[in-house]
């Protein structure tokens, strides 16, 4: 017993230093690019990323085609308010229905171009223009609709992919650059979730200190749901909403889990072993959010699947132990435990 205390004292000289190290270790472990750039040097990561990018462009064609099914909705919408955003500045000179036709046809043709010429920067740029025009059209009805934002930004980021397609152009420099842009897309997707989580935490702290209902209250989720359902017409409801309103406790842990999942998303950009778990979690979150408060953000799902489910940065040899150790908070706590056990044993 005595021996182990002294060793602990040796390890952590002062209490202050102990706390400081506790904070610094997870941060220093996570934020520099060390981990990522080490993986970037490996060939398999590059090969994997290179197989994912074409499918982004193929899916884009599918998405563009399916927009046809939505045409009548858009036509109805624009007959009331139509205030073109800047990317469709040319809309002022044409009839509204012509604008819709042009944007949709261009979107489909642009994505088809992308499917054939995604290896060329010009091809990827045309795809970006196509989705940008469509996004602008979708947002020209007086209200912004952020569901398509992700497609625009990722298409923009992918323009900067270097030309590393042929087997002849595989210089390490290009490979790294390719992976970097790919990582940028991943980080961007995760950043959006982290921002969403960050505001929730800030608001929760403020509301808690004011003594109001906050995210940690047991009835928080049912307050969210009932407020949303109150403004729906009488015939509409969500599938799981009524259940959670009636049994508020059911919603407590899910809400905390969502905040955890969202807030630490950006951190996950540096933790490839957790990519697929986070993808699953965020997809479940989207499905759950729709079933309770009716919030629909399904446009994000392809990215969660593409970019994270089989992430190029994930080490195929990584063990479950490693994965759990990488978990935010839980992993950090666990990170201290085994070490102490070892010192105990000594």
């Amino acid at each position: 017993m005595i021996k182990h205390i002294t060793q602990n004292q040796k390890n952590y000289l002062t209490r202050f230093e102990f706390i400081l190290q506790g904070i610094a270790r997870p941060i220093s472990k996570s934020f520099p690019f060390q981990n990522i750039s080490k993986i970037m040097r490996e060939n398999y990561a590059f090969e994997k990323a290179r197989t994912i990018v074409p499918f982004f462009y193929y899916f884009m064609v599918i998405v563009a085609l399916y927009r046809i099914l939505d045409l009548s909705n858009i036509v109805n919408e624009g007959q009331r308010i139509f205030a073109p955003r800047w990317p469709i500045f040319w809309a002022d000179y044409l009839h509204y229905l012509t604008v819709i036709d042009i944007v949709h046809v261009f979107f489909i043709l642009a994505t088809l171009t992308g499917a054939f010429f995604y290896r060329h920067r010009a091809g990827r740029f045309i795809v970006f223009l196509g989705i940008l025009e469509y996004h602008a059209l979708r947002n020209s009805f007086g209200v912004t609709y952020h569901n398509w934002d992700i497609w625009v930004w990722i298409a923009l980021l992918f323009i900067f992919l270097p030309d590393a397609w042929g087997s002849a152009h595989k210089s390490p420099r290009k490979r790294k650059r390719f992976l970097l842009v790919f990582w940028g897309a991943q980080a961007f997707v995760l950043l959006m979730y982290s921002m969403s989580g960050m505001w929730k935490i800030i608001a929760a702290a403020g509301q808690y200190l004011n003594g109001e209902a906050s995210a940690v209250s047991f009835d928080a989720f049912s307050l969210h749901i009932s407020t949303q359902l109150n403004i729906l017409p009488e015939t509409m409801t969500s599938m799981l909403g009524p259940l959670i309103i009636n049994y508020p406790l059911l919603g407590w842990l899910p809400l905390i889990a969502i905040i955890y999942l969202q807030s630490f998303s950006f951190f996950i950009a540096f933790r490839p072993s957790l990519h697929s778990i986070w993808a699953l979690g965020l997809i479940l979150f989207h499905v759950g959010a729709y079933l309770t408060i009716g919030a629909e953000f399904f446009q994000h799902i392809p990215f969660l699947l593409f970019l994270f489910l089989d992430s190029p940065f994930r080490d195929p040899r990584a063990s479950w132990r490693q994965t759990i150790a990488d978990l935010p908070i839980f992993g950090w706590i666990l990170g201290y435990l085994p070490k102490r056990n070892i010192t105990n044993a000594v």
């Binding site: 197989t51 064609v61 729709y290």
Partner: protein
């Protein structure tokens, strides 16, 4: 007979698909095929979530419910409950497919998801759902893939097996098109014998459009234009029949996979623009399966692609052989 040089030459014109073993010997086709399988399930996952959003509007009304044999169990519940159950089963099955596509049980579950969804959609009213047929076939054939984890290496035999199943998946998509093309040609022959209007006549598309738009009381973007200028419709219609009928043949001409898929996607866009019909469900399959086909050899020359074309390519080969033999003389 087999030694007959003309027959040999003729078969070479139409069938020069290398053996699957030669593909299996390489790493690339197998890796590609494996990758595509994954994205097929991703699409189902995406589709299942968006369908959730469309809600029960996707389905018919319960008064019209007349179950097919695979949804007979719904009679124990109400159709509304069945819709919920099947939607969620489809959602879960698609994600199980996405996450564990390498496991056969997961693929069986994914197939059952599509199967029950299609059965449910076919249980309203009197018409069977057509949109999910291609996916029904595809998910069914995918079950036969060898049970393999993504990371493990495969034996030559295993890869061959994998590629054969993948070829069957591709075939199932092109098969439907070929059936459709065959039906049109068969109908045209019947009509020609009967002595009347037929599919190869210049006004054929205009008549189709006029008849369809009048009987469905619908409008389309370019339909009226085709009716007023029937000659513009002729190449489109004959071209579509050409694309459809030879689709299955193209399966064995990998150099044309991408072009053919794009052509068929275009024909779907055309059908929408001219007839006002949205039939998009096989477009994702065309794009995912054929745009980056595992059997396509990169760097195939335009010459080879041209020579692979049905009819025209064969004629061209014949012509070139003729020239060659003349030059030899």
């Amino acid at each position: 007979m087999k030694s007959n040089p003309y027959i040999k030459k003729f078969t070479a014109y139409i069938y020069d698909f290398p053996s699957l073993e030669s593909f299996a010997k390489e790493e690339r086709p197998f890796e590609k095929a494996k990758n595509i399988v994954r994205y097929l399930y991703y699409f189902l996952a995406l589709k299942s979530t968006t369908m959730l959003f469309a809600g029960d509007t996707y389905f018919g009304t319960s008064e019209n419910f007349s179950p097919v044999w695979s949804t007979l169990w719904v009679n124990l519940l109400s159709p509304a409950d069945a819709i919920t159950i099947i939607q969620f089963f489809f959602l879960a099955s698609a994600f199980i497919g996405s996450f564990f596509y390498w496991n056969r049980i997961a693929r069986i579950i994914a197939f059952l998801g599509v199967f029950e969804l299609h059965a449910l959609l076919s249980s309203f009213g009197i018409e069977v759902d057509h949109a999910w047929y291609p996916w029904l076939f595809v998910t069914f054939f995918l079950i036969f893939l060898p049970d393999t984890r993504a990371q493990t290496r495969h034996s030559l035999e295993g890869r061959k097996f994998f590629l054969l199943v993948f070829l069957a998946v591709q075939a199932s998509v092109f098969f439907t098109y070929s059936m459709s093309g065959f039906g049109k040609i068969y109908g045209a022959i019947n009509q020609i014998i009967g002595g009347g209007m037929h599919a190869f006549a210049p006004e054929a598309l205009a008549l189709h459009v006029a008849h369809w738009l009048a009987s469905t009381h619908s409008v389309s973007l370019l339909g009226p234009f085709i009716i007023d200028h029937p000659w513009f419709g002729w190449p489109l219609f004959v071209g579509t029949i050409y694309l459809q009928f030879f689709a299955l043949w193209i399966l064995f001409k990998p150099s044309l996979h991408k072009l053919w898929a794009a052509g068929l996607v275009f024909s779907h866009i055309g059908i929408y623009v001219i007839m006002g019909l949205t039939y998009l469900s096989s477009a994702p399959l065309l794009i995912l399966l054929f745009f980056d086909s595992p059997f396509h050899k990169p760097g195939t020359s335009w010459r080879k692609i041209l020579l692979d074309l049905p009819i025209f390519g064969s004629l061209l080969r014949l012509f070139m052989d003729f020239r060659l033999s003349k030059m030899k003389k």
